[in-house]
C-alpha cells in the first residue's frame, strides 16, 4: 500500500511543526527557569525537539522534491500553512502549564515513536529510533514535575489543576484522524493517532494518580491546527521566529 507524496509530506510537516513550535515555546524559558537545574533541563528538551524537527523537515524537503531546504520549510511558510496541533502553540503560562503541556506531548509521542521505529519507511524508522530514547526521558522528567507540583504545596496543586483544566480542550486533537493520518497508517509508515490513545491514557493516569489529579475532561475539544487554523497567539510566535529570515531574503546564516 503506497501513500501519495502529498499525504506523506503533509504528515511529515505536521510532525515537524509540532516539534518546532513546541521547541520554540519551551526555549522561551531559557534563562528564566524557576531553578538552575531546569535552566539546563528545559533547553535540553527543546534541543531534542529542534533536532527531531530538523530531521523531519529535511526528510519532508527530500520527499517533496521541490528543492526547499529545512529552513525554507521551518521559516518561510505562512501561518495558515503551519500544521502543528493547537496544544504546542499554547502560550507557556506558568511552570505547571509548561510541564503539563510537555508531559502530554511526550506521553503521546513516546508510543508514536516506539511504533514508528518499526515503520515501513526506513528514514522515519531511523528518526524514530533516536527520538524514542529522548522522549522517554521527557515523559519521565515532566511526569515527575507533574507529580511534584500536584502533590507539593497547596499553591502548586491549585496551579497544576488550573493547568489541567486549561489544556484539556487541546488533548483530543492529538488523536485526530483524517485522510492523511489514515493513508500513512495504512501504509505502515506511522501508527494511527487514535491507536495511541490507550497508551497515552495509561501514562497520564499513572502520573495523575500520584499527582492527585483528575483526568482531563472537556465538553468542547478544540481542533483545526492540522488544517492550519491556529489560535491568536500563533501569529506572534511566527513573527518572532521568522523575522530574520523574512528581513534578509536569500541570505545564508
Amino acid at each position: 500500500m503506497e501513500v501519495s507524496r502529498d499525504h506523506f509530506v503533509t504528515f511529515l510537516l505536521r510532525l515537524a511543526d509540532d516539534h518546532l513550535i513546541l521547541g520554540h515555546r519551551l526555549s522561551e524559558w531559557c534563562g528564566h527557569a524557576p531553578m538552575l537545574e531546569e535552566d539546563l533541563a528545559m533547553p535540553n528538551i527543546a534541543l531534542d525537539l529542534i533536532g527531531q524537527a530538523r530531521a523531519l523537515y529535511q526528510y519532508a524537503a527530500e520527499v517533496e522534491g521541490k528543492g526547499r531546504s529545512e529552513d525554507d520549510l521551518a521559516y518561510l511558510r505562512r501561518e495558515r500553512e503551519y500544521l502543528n496541533c493547537l496544544m504546542v502553540e499554547r502560550p507557556n503560562g506558568d511552570f505547571a502549564h509548561t510541564m503539563l503541556r510537555q508531559f502530554y506531548f511526550a506521553a503521546f509521542m513516546h508510543p508514536f515513536w516506539e511504533k514508528a521505529s518499526a515503520s515501513t519507511d526506513e528514514t522515519l524508522a531511523g528518526i524514530a529510533a533516536k527520538a524514542v530514547k529522548e522522549v522517554s526521558y521527557h515523559v519521565r522528567h515532566c511526569g515527575e514535575w507533574v507529580i511534584r507540583l500536584g502533590d507539593g504545596t497547596e499553591e502548586s496543586a491549585a496551579r497544576m489543576k488550573a493547568a489541567v483544566e486549561a489544556l484539556a480542550p487541546y488533548v483530543d486533537e492529538l488523536f485526530e484522524t483524517d485522510a492523511v493520518s489514515e493513508a500513512v497508517s495504512k501504509a505502515g509508515i506511522a501508527p494511527a493517532p487514535a491507536s495511541l490513545r490507550s497508551s497515552f491514557d495509561s501514562t497520564v493516569q499513572r502520573v495523575f494518580a500520584e499527582a492527585f489529579l483528575d483526568m482531563p475532561e472537556t465538553a468542547w475539544p478544540q481542533t483545526g491546527g492540522r488544517q492550519g487554523r491556529h489560535g491568536e497567539a500563533m501569529g506572534y510566535l511566527l513573527a518572532e521566529l521568522q523575522h530574520i529570515q523574512r528581513t534578509y531574503p536569500g541570505a545564508v546564516w
Binding site: D39, A53, Y57, D151, G152, E155, E240, L241, H243, A251
Partner: protein, 315 residues
C-alpha cells in the same frame, strides 16, 4: 604567621588546596568572591544570548545557540558547586547577586541588538573569557581548577562557533557584512574591559597572584587577547574600532588605544544599558519560581515521610 607561611609554601610548591585543607580566611574569601562572580556571570550571561534563541536565523544556528546557553547554565552549576565546597550555598550566592552585592561580568550589561552580536559574543567575549580562564585551570584551589578545565573545553568550542558565525556573515551579503562590522564596533571595547582595570588600579591583584589564584595580571591577559584576536578580525576583513591599534614590531605586540574607563566604572557600578534589566530578569525568574522550589521541597518531604512510615509499618 607560621600557618600562613606553611600555606604559602604549599602554594609555591604548586600543591592543590582541597576543601578540607586549612586555608587562610582571606584566601577563602577571595575564592568565594571570585568563583561566585564567575558563576553569576554564567547565569546572567544566559540572558543576552537567550534573547536570540527564538529569533535565530536557521535551525542549525538555533540548536547550536540553545546548546551553548545550556552549557553556560552547566558552567554556572559546576561553579556554584565549587563555591559550595568553601561553605557558601547557592541560595546565599543568588541572594547576594539579586541584592546587587555580588558582581557579574559587566559585559553582559550590553544588549544583543542583532544576530551578529551572537557571533561577536562567541568570538570576542568567550575569547576573552578563555584568556582569563585558561590560567585558572592551574589555580591553586583544586575544585575551582577542575571546574575550569571542563569549562574551558566547552568555551573554546563556543568561541570557534562564534567565529564561524562571524565568518559566515563577513562572507555573506553586504548587509550581513555590515551587521558583523557593527557588532565588532559595539563589542570590541567592552571585551577589552573584561580584563578589568589596569594593574596599577587593581585591588585584589597582588595577593591573588601570590596565592596563585591568578597567574597573569589584567594587562598581560588583555595584551594576549588583543594579540591573538586582531589577526582573526583581519582575516574576516573587518576593521577594529580603534585608530591606535597597530602592530609594534619592537614590542612584538599590538599597541592599542586607551579604554574609556569612565564607561568601565559606570557599567561596573550599575549604569550600563542593561544592568537594571538583567537583574530584574533574574529577580523575576527567582520570584516567580519560588512556588516551584517550595513545591519541590514539600513533595520531597512528603515522600520521605511516606517512605519512613512504610518502613516503620514493615518493621
Amino acid at each position: 604567621q607560621a600557618f600562613l607561611d606553611a600555606f604559602q609554601k604549599r602554594i609555591d610548591a604548586e600543591e592543590k588546596i582541597e576543601p578540607n585543607d586549612p586555608m587562610p580566611e582571606g584566601y577563602r574569601r577571595t575564592l568565594v568572591r571570585q568563583i561566585g562572580q564567575h558563576a553569576h556571570s554564567e547565569i546572567v550571561g544566559m540572558l543576552p544570548e537567550g534573547n536570540w534563541i527564538t529569533r535565530a536565523p536557521s535551525l542549525r544556528r538555533k540548536a547550536a545557540l540553545l546548546a551553548k546557553v545550556q552549557d553556560e547554565g552547566g558552567h554556572g552549576l559546576y561553579l556554584y558547586s565549587a563555591a559550595e565546597t568553601l561553605g557558601v550555598s547557592r541560595e546565599e550566592m543568588t541572594e547576594e547577586l539579586l541584592a546587587g552585592k555580588a558582581k557579574y561580568s559587566s559585559i553582559f550589561n550590553y544588549p544583543t541588538l542583532t544576530w551578529a552580536d551572537i557571533g561577536a559574543i562567541g568570538w570576542l567575549v568567550d575569547g576573552a573569557a578563555i584568556m582569563n580562564q585558561i590560567p585558572l585551570c592551574r589555580c591553586s584551589y583544586g575544585p575551582y581548577a577542575r571546574a575550569m578545565i571542563r569549562v574551558c573545553k566547552e568555551e573554546s568550542f563556543h568561541q570557534r562557533q562564534g567565529y564561524e558565525i562571524m565568518m559566515t556573515l563577513a562572507n555573506g551579503t553586504p548587509e550581513q557584512k555590515e551587521m558583523a562590522q557593527d557588532a565588532l564596533n559595539r563589542w570590541w571595547w567592552p571585551s577589552l574591559m573584561m580584563f578589568g582595570p589596569h594593574d596599577s588600579d587593581s585591588q585584589h591583584g597582588d595577593q591573588s597572584m601570590r596565592w596563585k589564584i591568578k597567574r597573569f595580571t589584567n594587562d598581560e591577559l588583555r595584551q594576549q587577547f588583543v594579540d591573538s584576536t586582531v589577526p582573526q578580525g583581519e582575516f574576516l576583513g573587518l576593521t577594529f574600532p580603534d585608530p591606535n591599534l597597530k602592530w609594534n614590531e619592537e614590542r612584538g605586540h599590538y599597541d592599542f588605544g586607551e579604554i574609556d574607563w569612565d564607561e568601565f566604572w559606570r557599567v561596573v557600578k550599575g549604569g550600563g544599558p542593561m544592568n537594571k534589566e538583567r537583574l530584574a530578569a533574574r529577580q523575576k525568574a527567582w520570584d516567580e519560581g519560588a512556588w516551584v522550589r517550595e513545591a519541590a521541597l514539600a513533595h520531597a518531604e512528603k515522600r520521605k515521610a511516606r517512605a519512613e512510615a512504610a518502613r516503620m509499618a514493615a518493621e
